[in-house]
Structure formats: structure tokens, C-alpha cells
């Protein structure tokens, strides 16, 4: 066997190299060298991001265990950028005395989950997929419970790990049934072997809920707000964007590649899930006082919108999905970034504590507003374009009613996004949040996000690039 073909898994090896280097650095470096740990880590990761952002020819490794298509480069790059932004935002948090000793772990765990996602995305076999999935979710639990002195964090960690394991066991059970009915775990073979027998449908449902859990669709979403609230804000943002982004992409590829024959089954399922996810999450969101919970519900409804792209099952859907994830990443990370800065410095996360924020922190409020407008789908921000494309993809397949329901929901979502904007800009406060000073990495991260929000929509090249290779999906 020619192992040299393994070298084609460039992204993964590059990430492993970063990972291992940082682990060794953290363990063996002296006190003085550790000062530069974060800058080194960030630079390394940035280099990794830049080096791996060019798509290559499609290939397979290990007999189809690992399958690469160019689109994955984009997805992975999006995840890379997102992770980089999260790391930048976490810079200050990790420099605090209590956390300094743990920052090696933080990087290691974060990058491990990312590695898991890489494998999940590129998997060509259910075993590979499952390993990737678990690699992505188990370290995540430790990240959620990162602050070991906080009860909330511990509670969130427990909830996350229990729910995640519960979901993955159901999922594994489903995989086992698939195996039983077909005799193979390779995606390439499965595509023809899955013919729609009742057992296979059952297996599909069992398997799929595991991913629905990851994407946090209603009714598999209940863990989301609690975990988002309990976890440290930067981790929440990681969870909400990177973890979810990889899962939706995988869901789409699996539905097309593996379960293409079950399209008559999964389209109505997704239809229903999209409707209730969007609606219920929105209804929950309007009442939230804690901004992290609020964004949790918002991200659930965003996931519902993404389903509109998946449901179309077309290459246009694929392109709009990836684009949506990209835009969603910028917007959500911007919102979480502002949130984390303020929580970090003042400990305030309640909606009414944000009253009058514009008076004291005009720039942060402005970024927050852009992010929320983008999430709500208001032009000229990128969110408008991504929503439009997603709707367009669904409408192209004739799902006008679904699009209509989703659009009606945008009204509700606009309402609660405006509640935050109202708090920041309109409401007056006796003691507003004091002016906070954000450090340079956070500033960079917010600038990246803002530029993303402003420019990704207006410059069509990004979408056209994505769309150009979505046909080879």
C-alpha cells in the first residue's frame, strides 16, 4: 500500500502539526518563552489558515475512507477563519491569571475539535465520520466545562456531554442498522445499496438525529441555550458557529451522497424541522433576557434557515449553504465578540444592562448593530444576500410556502434583534455599561467580522467562487 497518498490530506496534517507543536511548546517551554505562546499560536494558526485556503483536485485516500472535493477547502477555510476569530477574541480571557496555565489546553482542545470536524467533513466512511464527530464533540464538552470553578460552566458541561453522548449513541445505533442492511460503511457503495427499505429508513432517522442534535434543530435543540449560557462566551461562539457550520455541511453531503435515494423521506422531514425550528426558536427568543441565551435561540432559527438550502438538494443549495455559513460566521462571531468583550470587562450579559450602550461604547454598539442586522437579513449587509440565496435555492425547487413561512419568521426575528438595538440606541440608562477598552486582538477580530459583514455581500466573487465548484460536490 502506498502510504504516500496520505500526504494528500494536507489540511489535516498541517493542523496536526500546529497542534502538536503547540502542545510541546506549552509543556516544555520556559516561563519566558510562554509569554509568546499566544502570539506564536495565533500566527501559526493564521499561517495554517492562509496556506490551506486553495482548493485542489478531488481525491480519495485509504480506499475511499477519506474523500476530498474542492468545496471542502472552502468549508474548512471558513472554519479556520472562524476559529482564528474566536481565538483572537479569547486572547484576553486566556491571559488572565486564572486561565494562564490552561491556555495550552484551550488551544489544544479547540484545535482538536477542529481536527475532528476536518475528518468529519472529509470522511468517506461512517467509521471515519463517527470518529470525526466524536473528536469534535468530546473535547468540546471539556471546553464547555472549561471554567471549573463556575457552577454554570460545570452544569453546561454536564448537560452537553450527557446530551451529546445520548445523541451519538442513537446515531451509532442507526449506523449499525445501516451496516446491517447494506454490509458496507463506505459512502460510495452505500449510495446504491440504500434503496429505501423500512429498516434503512429507520436507520437513517436514527442516524440523522445525531446530526440534528449537532445542528441543534428543534426538537433536538433543548441543550443549546443552557450550554450556550453556561459556557465561556468565546467557547459559546465557537460552538455556535464552527461546530454548527461543519455539521450542516456534513448533513448536506451525506443526504446527497449517501441518502440520495431517500430523498422522498428526508425532504418532508427537513421541511417540518425547518418550519418548527425557525418558528419555535424565534418564539423563544423574543422573551430572552440573557443575551447569550438570546443568541442561542437566534442561532437555532438560523439553523432552520440553513435547512432551506439543504432541502433544495441542488448545487445551488450547496453553494448558498456554504455562503450562508460564511456570512453567519462573520455575523454571529461579531455579535459574540462584542458580547464577550463586554462580559469580560463588566460581567454584564443581560439585555436591560445594555441600555444606553451607544452612549458609552459607540463602536461596539455599531459592530453589534451590524451583526444583528446581518443576522436579520437586512441589506446591504451580507446576511441579506445569504438569506436571499437560501430562499432562492428553496424557491427554485418550488418550496414557496416554506420560503413564505421562513420570511414571516424573519419579521419575528427582526423584532427581537431590534430589541437589542433598541436597548443599545434608544433606551436611556441610569448607569450604563462603562466605556470598555478592547485589546488589539479583539479589535482585529471585530474588524475582520465587520469587513466580512460589509463586503462579503457586495463583492460577488466570493459567492461565484463557491458556486463555481459546488457542481463538483
Amino acid at each position: 500500500m502506498d502510504y504516500s497518498s496520505f500526504l494528500q490530506m494536507r489540511e489535516e496534517f498541517s493542523l496536526i502539526a500546529v497542534l502538536v507543536f503547540l502542545l510541546i511548546y506549552d509543556i516544555f517551554a520556559g516561563e519566558k518563552a510562554l509569554k509568546y505562546f499566544q502570539p506564536v499560536a495565533l500566527v501559526l494558526f493564521a499561517a495554517h489558515t492562509v496556506l490551506n485556503c486553495f482548493p485542489r483536485e478531488a481525491f480519495e485516500v485509504a480506499g475511499g475512507m477519506f474523500q476530498y472535493v474542492p468545496m471542502q477547502t472552502y468549508v474548512k477555510s471558513i472554519l479556520n477563519v472562524g476559529t482564528l476569530v474566536v481565538l483572537l477574541q479569547a486572547h484576553k480571557f486566556l491571559n488572565e491569571d486564572a486561565n494562564r496555565v490552561k491556555r495550552g489546553e484551550f488551544y489544544f482542545l479547540t484545535l482538536s475539535t477542529l481536527l475532528g470536524m476536518y475528518f468529519m467533513i472529509s470522511s468517506g466512511n461512517f467509521l471515519m465520520f463517527f470518529i470525526g464527530l466524536e473528536t469534535a464533540s468530546i473535547p468540546m464538552a471539556t471546553l464547555v466545562a472549561f471554567d471549573k470553578y463556575s457552577r454554570k460552566s460545570a452544569e453546561a458541561g454536564a448537560k452537553y456531554i450527557l446530551s451529546a453522548v445520548f445523541a451519538s449513541s442513537i446515531s451509532v445505533f442507526g449506523i449499525s442498522l445501516i451496516y446491517g442492511s447494506t454490509g458496507t460503511l463506505y459512502f460510495n457503495d452505500l449510495a446504491t445499496l440504500i434503496t429505501g427499505t423500512p429498516l434503512q429508513i429507520m436507520a437513517f432517522v436514527f442516524f440523522a438525529v445525531g446530526l440534528f442534535f449537532k445542528i441543534s434543530l428543534v426538537p433536538f435543540h433543548l441543550w443549546t441555550p443552557d450550554v450556550y449560557e453556561g459556557a465561556q462566551t468565546n467557547i459559546t461562539s465557537y460552538l455556535s458557529v464552527i461546530s454548527k457550520g461543519s455539521a450542516v455541511f456534513v448533513l448536506f453531503t451525506l443526504l446527497i451522497k449517501v441518502f440520495g435515494n431517500l430523498v422522498a423521506q428526508w425532504q418532508p422531514i427537513l421541511y417540518g424541522l425547518a418550519v418548527i425550528s425557525i418558528t419555535l426558536a424565534n418564539v423563544f427568543a423574543i422573551r430572552q433576557q440573557n443575551l447569550k441565551r438570546f443568541l442561542a435561540f437566534s442561532s437555532i432559527s438560523q439553523a432552520g434557515y440553513i435547512l432551506l438550502a439543504i432541502i433544495s438538494g441542488s448545487s445551488m443549495g450547496m453553494a448558498s449553504l456554504v455562503y450562508y455559513v460564511l456570512v453567519y460566521m462573520f455575523s454571529n462571531l461579531a455579535a459574540f465578540g462584542v458580547l464577550s468583550v463586554i462580559e469580560e470587562r463588566t460581567g454584564k450579559v443581560k439585555l436591560d444592562e445594555y441600555n444606553g450602550l451607544y452612549q458609552t461604547n459607540p463602536r461596539l454598539s455599531f459592530v453589534m448593530m451590524l451583526a444583528l442586522f446581518s443576522l436579520a437579513g437586512i441589506p446591504p449587509f451580507a446576511g441579506f444576500f445569504s438569506k436571499f440565496f437560501v430562499f432562492s435555492a428553496a424557491a427554485a425547487q418550488g418550496y414557496y410556502v416554506l420560503v413564505f413561512i421562513a420570511l414571516l419568521n424573519t419579521i419575528i426575528s427582526l423584532y427581537y434583534y431590534l430589541l437589542v438595538i433598541k436597548a443599545m440606541f434608544l433606551n436611556k440608562s441610569e448607569n450604563p455599561i462603562e466605556t470598555v477598552k478592547s485589546d488589539i486582538p479583539v479589535k482585529i477580530s471585530l474588524v475582520i467580522c465587520t469587513l466580512g459583514i460589509l463586503l462579503v455581500g457586495l463583492f460577488s466573487t466570493i459567492y461565484t467562487q463557491i458556486a463555481a465548484i459546488s457542481f463538483g460536490m
Binding site: E134, R151, A154, A156, I161, S168, S176, L177, G230
Partner: protein, 112 residues
């Protein structure tokens, strides 16, 4: 009686294994839903995962004897389950430190 004879003859039919695994799986589910202690819940999850492993192994042995995919999957699952348990136990210990209890019902600070 055929089944019993078969079993006695050392030829256990596949359905029986699958039945056991199904019972294990739902026992695990039931345990997850009803147990108070987080440790018991973890054990229930192990049951569920093991049920899946049993499925893999059974299918491999009975239906596709020429290959090893199911066995491998079971092996990997066991390993992953171990990781999960390790992390979960760590978190439960952390919970215990914070709450002096491992009752899952106490995890209700964040809701609505």
C-alpha cells in the same frame, strides 16, 4: 423449540442477538431517562453504545462474514465510549465539587 434446540446446539440465530441488543438499547434509554444519578446515566449510555456494538458484531458475523468492518467499528466505538466516559466522569467530579451531589435533577440553574 427450534430456537432452543439451536441454542443448545451452539447455533444461536441472529435475531436473538439483535433482540438482546434492542433490549439493551432501550434499557439504556430508559435508564438515561429515569435515573437520578449521573453515574447511572453514564452507565445507561454505555448500555446504549454497547447495544450498537453488539449489532455491528452480530451483523458482521452473521450477514457479512467475509469482512471486518463491523468488528472494527465496534472496537472504535468502545474506545470512543471510553473517552466519553472519561470526560463525563471528569465533569461529574467537577459537578460534585460545585454542588456536592451528582443528582442530575440539580442541574437546573439555567432554564427557560
Amino acid at each position: 423449540m427450534d430456537i432452543l434446540n439451536n441454542i443448545l446446539a451452539g447455533q444461536v440465530p441472529m435475531e436473538l442477538y439483535l433482540g438482546v441488543s434492542l433490549i439493551m438499547f432501550f434499557a439504556g434509554v430508559y435508564g438515561f431517562l429515569s435515573r437520578r444519578s449521573m453515574l447511572m446515566i453514564l452507565i445507561s449510555i454505555e448500555l446504549m453504545l454497547n447495544a450498537a456494538d453488539l449489532n455491528f458484531v452480530t451483523f458482521n458475523r452473521y450477514l457479512f462474514p467475509g469482512q471486518l468492518e463491523g468488528f472494527y467499528f465496534a472496537l472504535f466505538t468502545i474506545a470512543i465510549a471510553a473517552c466519553e466516559t472519561a470526560v463525563a466522569i471528569a465533569i461529574i467530579i467537577n459537578i460534585y465539587r460545585n454542588l456536592s451531589s451528582v443528582e442530575v435533577g440539580n442541574l437546573d440553574q439555567m432554564k427557560e
